[in-house]
């Protein structure tokens, strides 16, 4: 392995500085007086010697040895083979569902003839028993997709995602996510304000008239509602050379 790495490194016609660094990383002692040819020769010799020896350096590429901090397009697993499904809100009307299956679950399910579905159910303010959702959406996308975005009906509502299949007309759940709540996108007014007395540390409940609860609305509408990190900002930033 080292042999191949060294050969491939030498074939890139490295500079003397790179040769020195590379040799150093390989643990080869060099003399100051050694020129490019001498170092190449030393490296080749080292390659011959380590031809049949396996060492930890074998897993490193030359560039990694030379410049270990350079971020690389490393191969990372596409699946970790656990059973899970999770759900996150994207915004008040979209949720993101991501899932994976263990090898065992995948095997069990692949032998059955049931078509797997991803289902997102609105279970706001109920104890969900698998059948009592207010409403649900299903997608029969390939389970291999690994994730999917669902448009949902309500902000400020609880959603759960499940992977399952139909048997005798009933949905059989195989995996369930936790519950997520979509963000609100409108004000929630109240007649009961709670205030903390910061001097005494006590709490008090305050009944408010509709007049004063409307004030929050007035306050809100007194200014423009544009977000500074708007599309416009994103575009401006995109024109630049760096993230920020």
């Amino acid at each position: 392995m080292i042999n191949e790495e060294i050969q491939s490194f030498l074939s890139t016609d490295p500079t003397i500085q790179d040769l020195r660094r590379f040799a150093k990383m390989m643990g080869i002692n060099l003399k100051r007086t050694m020129g490019k040819k001498d170092i190449s020769r030393a490296l080749k010799k080292h390659a011959q010697e380590s031809k049949h020896v396996s060492s930890d350096a074998a897993t490193k590429t030359p560039s990694e040895i030379l410049r270990p901090s350079k971020p690389v397009n490393a191969e990372i697993p596409s699946s970790y083979f656990h059973d899970f499904v999770t759900i996150h809100p994207v915004n008040p009307y979209w949720v993101y569902v991501v899932w994976d299956l263990s090898e065992r679950t995948a095997r069990d399910l692949s032998t059955s003839q049931f078509r797997l579905l991803v289902r997102v159910s609105d279970i706001t303010n109920i104890i969900y028993d698998g059948k009592n959702a207010h409403r649900f959406k299903e997608s029969d996308i390939s389970i291999d997709a690994g994730n999917w975005y669902f448009q949902v009906d309500f902000p400020d509502a609880d959603y759960i995602a499940e992977i399952g299949y139909y048997i005798d007309g009933h949905f059989k759940s195989v995996l369930k996510s936790g519950i997520t709540r979509t963000p609100r996108n409108s004000p929630k007014f109240t007649d009961n304000e709670i205030w903390v007395d910061l001097r005494k540390g006590s709490r008090k409940e305050l009944k408010v008239s509709h007049e004063s609860s409307r004030r929050a609305r007035i306050t809100k509408s007194s200014g423009p509602t544009g977000n500074p990190s708007s599309e416009e900002f994103i575009k401006t930033i995109s024109k630049s050379r760096s993230g920020r």
Partner: protein, 534 residues
């Protein structure tokens, strides 16, 4: 009489970028540009205000990765080289422009002096910029808040409360080490908030945080005074919300100050304008062109193409800055009067958060704008510049409100950090958290020094992968390759470490290399992930 408070909040952040094995690395320039163009100019403005006896109050979040980079010896040396090279370029530009145009020549001389002053500030404080900022905190003019460890996007970590807890805990600990005291407040990365996060903050002794406007507008319940009075969460943590009017005045492409035709044009730079042979020593060694900070043109007009811009005039720009600072101050006075009349005698509190790098880096005249704004407001009866702690100390009562799930990203929720381009990241971040928690619990009591080092490094790799910057860069389509590779590389390093720790086959030399390059949080203790949370 109407009276209100004004909180200027500057969020100073850059992701941790450290390539000590490279003599220079393109992305390290982000830090160097920010030091030259934003951080030191802000310090210079603060110094002038102080020596002129002007009352000023600024709040800054200097994030943990930024503090770590500012304190990193390698990066300090590289910055001095970078600055030396900038000074050299300004010097040769003086002779170069003498034959071109007097306006450019005057600017080149200006840049040389400006850069030499910057070097003086940097050297005089022994490269310790965090110490310089802390000095202003000690004298009460600046309040520095922390941020979650690596600016991880917390709303997408809710499946792993341990990961959220670690981000907060390490953010607080890092602040303590660099600043020497406990932070009172925190800037949650991207203002990402989900109800319940307040309990983590409470747990770590944090008494306030910031949210975007709609977090309170759509809070439970909608607060009586909208975004103009801090509220407390059910866990008794104070919440300060962004004032949209202030942001609009500064940010808007239509009416925002930085778009004024007299201001300096960001996109014309000698790094792109000069011929290759001449500019090569001052750009990336690969030959890739980049900004050098030497810029001779003004915005001129929104629709004027880049190649038709007019020369920048320092005096004109200065006049524009003073005008804009006065205008902004007047608008704040008018806003305070308007709000005060509706507030039953309570003082309105206007919170104006910005990315710090807007001031100086993007908007060259920004630091001067801040300076002029405080001169304008000095001794003002209506608008009182304040820090969050001063605001909180002045309050007798606070309404209890649960802020809404929100961020300060485009459209206000999670789209910027969770979309078809970058969603692949989170499967790996989740797996990283899962494995980190698993091993932290398994080896919580280990006394094997090498294993402890490997576990600590695994935590660093997870934290670095979690930086929200990578997902942001992928969305904005800027340095995508770097962001993708950084994510994958940290995940890959984490997975390898996991395998080595599990099989008790830790490669010490490799570990040593990782400790050197991914050196953030040298005092990290992986056991933070073993804690039972939630």
């Amino acid at each position: 009489m109407s009276r209100g408070r004004f909180v200027l909040m500057l969020h100073a952040h850059l992701p941790f970028i450290n390539h000590p094995d490279f003599p220079s690395f393109m992305e390290e320039r982000w830090l160097f540009e920010a030091i030259t163009e934003t951080y030191i100019p802000l310090l210079q403005a603060f110094r002038r205000l102080r020596s002129d006896g002007v009352n000023f109050k600024v709040t800054m979040s200097i994030t943990p990765p930024l503090m770590e980079m500012l304190a990193n010896n390698d990066l300090q040396k590289k910055y001095l080289n970078y600055l030396g090279s900038s000074i050299e370029l300004a010097g040769i530009e003086i002779s170069r422009t003498s034959a071109e145009h007097p306006a450019a020549n005057r600017l080149a001389t200006h840049y040389l002096h400006e850069l030499e002053d910057i070097r003086k500030v940097y050297e005089e404080c022994n490269c310790n910029l965090v110490g310089e900022f802390s000095g202003f905190q000690d004298s009460g003019e600046l309040e520095i808040v922390t941020c979650n460890a690596t600016h991880g996007f917390l709303p997408l970590m809710t499946n792993f409360p341990e990961a959220i807890n670690a981000q907060i805990s390490i953010g607080v600990d890092s602040y303590r080490r660099h600043v020497g005291k406990d932070p009172r407040g925190i800037w949650l990365a991207e203002c990402g908030y989900v109800p319940g996060f307040d309990s983590y903050l409470r747990e770590h002794g944090l008494s306030f945080f910031f949210v975007d406007s709609h977090s309170l507008w759509y809070g439970d319940p909608a607060p009586r005074y909208g975004v103009y009075r801090p509220v407390v969460t059910p866990e008794n943590v104070f919440v300060l919300a962004r004032d949209p009017e202030s942001s609009q005045q500064v940010w808007s492409a239509e009416v925002g100050y930085p778009g004024d035709s007299r201001y300096r044009e960001f996109y014309r730079d000698v790094g792109f304008d000069r011929e290759e042979d001449y500019i090569r020593p001052y750009i990336d060694p690969s030959g890739e062109r980049c900004n050098t900070g030497i810029k001779y043109y003004k915005i001129t007009g929104k629709d004027v193409p880049l190649n038709e811009k007019s020369y920048y005039d320092l005096d004109d720009a200065r006049r524009a800055t003073v005008e804009h600072a006065k205008d902004f101050a007047n608008r704040k006075r008018e806003q305070v009067r308007r709000l005060f009349s509706q507030f039953d005698g309570e003082e309105p509190v206007i919170v104006a958060p910005f990315d710090a790098e807007l001031f100086g880096h993007w908007w060259y005249e920004g630091p001067l704008f801040i300076e002029e704004l405080f001169r304008e407001l000095n001794g003002d009866d209506i608008v009182v510049p304040s820090t969050p702690s001063e605001v909180i100390n002045s309050m007798d009562q606070a309404q209890v409100v649960t802020p809404n799930t929100s961020t300060w990203g485009a459209n206000g929720y999670n789209e910027v950090w969770l979309n078809g381009r970058n969603d692949w990241i989170y499967r790996h971040l989740d797996e990283g958290s899962r494995r980190m928690i698993e091993l932290a619990r398994k080896f919580e009591r280990t006394d094997d020094a090498l294993r402890i080092r490997a576990l600590n490094q695994m935590a660093r790799e997870l934290l670095l992968a979690q930086s929200s910057d990578w997902a942001f860069i992928i969305t904005t389509n800027t340095t995508v390759e770097y962001a993708v590779n950084r994510t994958k590389t940290h995940i890959d390093r984490l997975l390898r470490l996991y395998g080595e720790i599990e099989s008790n086959s830790i490669d010490e030399s490799r570990l040593k290399t990782l400790e050197w390059i991914d050196s953030i949080f040298p005092h990290i203790d992986f056991r933070v992930y073993a804690k039972q949370v939630g």
